[in-house]
């Protein structure tokens, strides 16, 4: 799985490894925080306290919304996500409670802006330690 290559970027938090479990791997559902930069996902659900969840849903994090992990802050956290034409930064601790289904690479339209972006960030990632 290609997503795995991005695990080292936020692997310092042990609780993030509780998710995904084996079952969700099979369904391709992971935590949003595990979504690699330049990768797309479909929001499956949120598991956050009432007010926060409400706020996020009104910012576009509703089931079936398409989300793109855009870039990480220079310190590696928070991460900027593109959703619904907006760019929203979430901390790892928040993104961990949002579940997304990965869109396999071949389902993405190539040549789009996102495609270019993915390649650009992939190139940028090679410089990471």
């Amino acid at each position: 799985m290609i997503e795995r290559s991005d695990h080292h970027l936020q692997a310092d938090d042990p609780s993030s490894r509780l998710y995904p479990t084996l079952g969700s791997w099979l369904l391709n559902v992971i935590a949003l925080s595990e979504l690699g930069i330049g990768k797309h996902g479909i929001v499956e659900g949120l598991d956050l306290p009432g007010e926060v969840q409400h706020h996020l849903m009104h910012m576009g994090f509703v089931p079936d919304a398409r989300v793109l992990a855009l870039r990480r802050a220079p310190a590696g956290d928070p991460t900027v996500y593109a959703i619904d034409g907006m760019e929203i930064a979430l901390r790892h601790e928040t993104a961990r409670s949002i579940h997304v289904r990965i869109i396999p690479d071949d389902e993405e339209q190539e040549g789009s802006e996102d495609f270019l972006l993915r390649h650009r960030s992939a190139a940028g990632r090679q410089g990471k330690p």
Partner: protein, 630 residues
């Protein structure tokens, strides 16, 4: 000071209400929809700002002067995503819209402002607002920007779909506002409402909103390539933090180095005006009251203005351009370690110049708890008003020995330690608050990164005028009252019909009374009086000590430094600067905290906490140092 607690009614319409006419409209919209810009446009900047009773949410009311309908009042509601009562902002908005907010008239109509760049998401708010069944005009703001970027929307189709008029406007340019006048002029009758989604469910609102935008041929504009390219640099792993530091140091340097002389110059000017005015007044208590009481009080507030305006000019440029959100993103990782979020960075930094504008700058933090925590720790940062007493004591008591080479001497070392002390106190306090008073649910950091935009001169000016007015009006009243009380205490009881010497006045006697309490800190009664008078502002202590030692025959011929050295031990002297590093000796700050938290509870807690902490730290300092150097 009840003036800031009551809800101003702004001579709102009291004539019998004729059904179908519109006398009060509410301005509703999501955050960042350009609602405030529109409000400023519509009211021509003449507005009443207060807080809703019991909450920190700001209430803004004005009249539609900008479109020649000054008979109609307009209420600017806080920016909200939905009408569910999840947040304080939303609760206030719902109460006002239902006419259940005491002191605020029930709106007869709603102006719903939506950002046309993100219309399909912003439409989610339209469903609950339309369900209120009030006459509603939907304003598609920033439509010029959307069209310039290749976006498209059909207002007529949207109006048909929503059953209510829709107009394209640009609040920053002031175009399309005729539609509002038109809307107000017509008999208000609501079209039979369309199919609205199930109430209270974000997912169904979302589905409904995207359905509407598809059916009305809405095409979202391309996201600006400029923004993403800029972010590739400004959020770059190496350049991002570097540029961030450059920006931050520049702002700090300018506010500190340009603001200080500006404030000093302004102070000189104000003093000169006082001297000039006193020449016209007959000598005696009226002159003293007006010049030393009222004018000093007023100018002690006015003197903050240059720094406030300067800081808000920078914050305005940073926020309007979209960089402030990026700065918060970069600073978040560091700020989190002290229990605050990235948005607290700018306020904490500007507090090194002055806590008053810094506390006003915490408005950029939307989360209430986070904002309160920032407000409460901000006064620990070493502001410029602490420098006079630091410089005096260090010059008098600390020998200038080299510590690390020729350029970092013992004096610089002590000065730096005081800065560090303040910062550590802020850090510990933030931690403490987060685990006690402000605990509750963990507060997530959700930050919207807006597209980069060029700030307009107009919106910057509006911001400055707004901040200056709020500060002068709210803080001014409290400070004036405190100054008058202090003046009175230091001028009574009359001695043979003349004013008493400071030592004989009530405040002087209190100085003697508290001497036993402050003796363990190594302070004498003169310092005690200085501590009392400097509750007004920290720098006042230098003037007070000057007066006290200057009128004492025993020390009259000495400079203040030598006089202090004669009177105090090194332990007491260092204890004094430690006390000033930690104590809340600033009425302006207290007044601003009261204003920003809309309650006396927080400034009271802050004052007591900081004073107790300062006392204990000064006590420990004096006891240790006197044993060490005893």
């Amino acid at each position: 000071m009840s003036s800031c607690c009551e809800t101003p009614t702004l001579d709102l319409p009291i004539e019998p209400h004729i059904p179908g006419t519109i006398r009060t409209v509410a301005l509703v919209g999501p955050p960042n929809s350009g609602k405030s810009t529109l409000f400023n446009r519509l009211t021509g900047l003449r507005q009443k700002v207060a807080n809703y009773p019991g909450v920190t949410v700001e209430q803004r009311i004005g009249r539609l002067r900008g479109i020649d309908r000054s008979d109609v009042a307009v209420i600017d509601l806080p920016g909200i995503y939905s009408l569910s009562r999840y947040s304080e902002d939303a609760r206030v908005a719902v109460d006002v819209l239902h006419g259940e907010m005491p002191g605020t008239p029930a709106p007869d109509a709603v102006l719903l402002v939506l950002d046309s760049l993100h219309l399909s998401r912003q439409l989610m708010l339209a469903a609950p607002v339309l369900a209120l069944k009030l006459p509603t005009l939907i304003l598609l703001n920033m439509s010029d920007l959307m069209e310039a970027r290749g976006g498209e929307v059909d207002p007529l189709a949207l109006a048909g779909e929503l059953g209510t008029p829709v107009a394209k406007i640009s609040a920053t340019r002031g175009t399309g506002l005729d539609a509002i006048r038109h809307f107000l002029g017509q008999k208000s009758e609501l079209q039979p409402p369309l199919q609205l989604p199930v109430m209270g469910n974000a997912a169904s609102y979302r589905q409904w909103a995207s359905g509407v935008s598809t059916r009305t041929n809405y095409r979202a504009p391309l996201s600006s390539a400029v923004s993403r390219n800029l972010d590739n640099i400004l959020l770059h792993r190496v350049w991002g933090p570097l540029l961030f530091l450059v920006v931050v140091i520049t702002v700090f340097q300018i506010v500190f180095s340009l603001g200080q002389p500006l404030s000093n110059g302004f102070q000189t000017l104000l003093d000169a005006m006082g001297v000039y005015a006193s020449a016209w007044l007959p000598a005696g208590w009226i002159q003293s009251l007006l010049i030393e009481g009222v004018w000093k009080g007023v100018s002690s507030v006015l003197v903050f203005l240059p720094q406030i305006l300067l800081l808000f000019l920078f914050i305005g440029v940073l926020e309007d351009s979209g960089y402030l959100a990026r700065a918060a993103l970069i600073a978040d990782r560091v700020m989190r370690t002290i229990g605050l979020n990235g948005k607290a960075f700018i306020p904490l930094l500007s507090a090194y110049a002055c806590a008053v504008p810094a506390i006003m700058a915490t408005r950029t933090i939307e989360n209430k708890r986070e904002r309160l925590a920032t407000i409460l720790v901000t006064p620990f940062m070493t502001c410029s008003a602490r420098l006079p007493i630091y410089i005096l004591i260090i010059a008098a008591f600390v020998p200038n020995r080299p510590v690390l080479g020729r350029f970092f001497g013992l004096r610089a070392c002590v000065m730096l330690s005081l800065y560090v002390l303040g910062f550590v106190a802020a850090l510990v306090t933030a931690r403490l608050l987060k685990s006690t008073l402000l605990r509750a649910s963990p507060t997530p950091f959700i930050l919207e990164l807006p597209q980069y935009r060029l700030p307009t001169l107009r919106s910057l000016l509006l911001r400055l005028v707004d901040r200056a007015r709020v500060f002068l009006h709210q803080a001014g009243t409290v400070i004036l009252a405190v100054t008058l009380v202090l003046w009175l205490l230091s001028h009574v009881p009359l001695h043979d019909g003349a004013f008493p010497a400071l030592a004989q006045s009530i405040i002087g006697r209190i100085g003697f009374i508290i001497e036993p309490v402050i003796r363990p800190l190594g302070f004498n009664w003169k310092i005690g009086i200085g501590l009392l008078t400097s509750v007004l502002a920290r720098e006042v202590i230098v003037g007070t000590l000057g007066t006290l030692y200057g009128t004492d025959p025993a020390t009259q011929h000495l400079t203040l430094q030598t006089a202090l050295r004669r009177d105090m031990h090194i332990g007491g002297a260092i204890a004094l600067v430690v006390y000033f590093a930690l104590a809340m000796q600033c009425t302006s700050t207290l007044a601003v905290v009261r204003r920003e938290t809309n309650s006396w509870k927080w400034p009271a807690i802050q004052f007591i906490y900081m004073t107790v902490l300062a006392y204990l730290a000064a006590l420990a300092t004096n006891q240790c140092l006197s044993r060490l150097f005893g």
